[in-house]
């Protein structure tokens, strides 16, 4: 943060705080509603919104340099590289088998993971 960085008003902080508390209540309440797979999506979406508010206002990213923002984004990108590629392995391990139901065991060099 530069020495010239503006100092946010207390009101802004309190507004963000109130939003975060409301969202916490909302996500807790929604978790009791049966939405199928959407429960996960909604819970994570709310978490992302909350985290973004903290990063943007409390951590002052809205006043920082492009470089700092770049680092924040890089951290998230690398996190998603790790999660997505690892996950794609688990998701596609048994594709071969399902593609060939006549095959008597798992197909192409495949193993069956503990998952299915």
């Amino acid at each position: 943060m530069t020495a010239h960085s503006p100092i946010p008003k207390v009101k802004t902080f309190v507004a963000v705080w109130a939003t975060l508390i409301v969202l916490t209540g909302a996500t807790s309440a929604i978790s009791y509603v049966e939405l199928g797979d959407w429960n996960v999506v909604v819970a994570l979406a709310i978490a992302v919104i909350k985290a973004s508010l903290v990063v943007w206002v409390f951590m002052g990213v809205r006043y920082t340099t492009t470089l700092t923002r770049l680092f924040v984004v890089a951290g998230l990108v690398w996190l998603s590289i790790m999660m997505l590629i690892t996950f794609s392995d688990y998701r596609t391990r048994n594709w071969t088998y399902q593609a060939q139901p006549w095959s008597h065991t798992k197909g192409v060099g495949g193993t069956s993971s503990p998952s299915r």
């Binding site: 020495a3 008003k9 996500t27 978790s31 985290a51 470089l67 996190l79 690892t86 996950f87 688990y90």
Partner: protein
């Protein structure tokens, strides 16, 4: 929206007041360096927790039913309360940084103390939860017993992930409280002013980051699967 803008004229700021270290050319450079350093450190923290989140994602996809089962043993009231406590602590931390920037020493001290109290409350509640799990033999590696037989094995992995993630988070909280203590001592010694508040701001960033980790842990560990109960 009009923001209060403080122009720090670092030409006039004496080296004494800005704690300028010899190898920096200016207070501005020193401030920029510590900000970037802190954010870089937080990136490593993201990936540190990310390893655990990746493990969580893999096992959750493997054993969704077992996950739903374990989340029923989480105390959603305590977890939710803790989330609120951490959010409050983030607010007071943000206000503490603001107080430091405006050289409001008394406000800074009060806000730091309040933030610490919120942190300690969080840790206490977390301790209560862990203790309950301990009583129920749900600590992996220590006579683990799971009441739902079809998940007897997999639940152990999931509970381990729970303890690992919340434990690492709590460890960061403890470190955070220690850092706040340091800030408090420095604040009472009148170290911080409108030209020198970098440590408050940096530790504030750390504190908010720890809050963010919890913002994700809460839904992932407590909420997902509740709808089936």
């Amino acid at each position: 929206m009009a923001e209060t803008v403080v122009h720090v004229d670092h030409q006039d700021a004496s080296v004494e007041a800005t704690h300028l270290r010899h190898h920096f050319a200016s207070a501005q450079q020193q401030m920029d360096a510590s900000t970037l350093g802190m954010w870089t450190f937080l990136v490593t923290e993201v990936l540190f927790f990310g390893g655990m989140f990746a493990g969580y994602a893999v096992y959750r996809a493997m054993y969704p039913a077992a996950f739903a089962s374990t989340s029923r043993f989480m105390n959603i009231v305590l977890g939710g309360t803790n989330t609120a406590v951490l959010i409050c602590s983030s607010l007071t931390m943000a206000l503490a940084v603001r107080a430091a920037q405006l050289s409001k020493r008394k406000a800074l001290i009060v806000l730091l103390i309040v933030t610490m109290i919120f942190g300690l409350v969080f840790l206490y509640i977390k301790w209560v939860e862990w203790h309950a799990h301990w009583e129920e033999h749900m600590v992996p590696g220590f006579d683990f017993q799971y009441p739902v037989p079809q998940f007897a094995h997999t639940a152990q992995i999931l509970f381990f992930l729970y303890f690992m993630m919340t434990g690492m988070h709590a460890l960061h909280m403890i470190v955070g409280v220690g850092l706040l203590t340091y800030l408090l001592v420095q604040a009472t010694r009148r170290v911080f002013n409108e030209n020198y508040f970098a440590p408050v701001e940096m530790i504030g960033l750390y504190w908010h980051f720890v809050d963010i980790v919890w913002i994700f842990l809460f839904p992932l560990l407590y909420l997902i699967g509740q709808q089936h109960s």
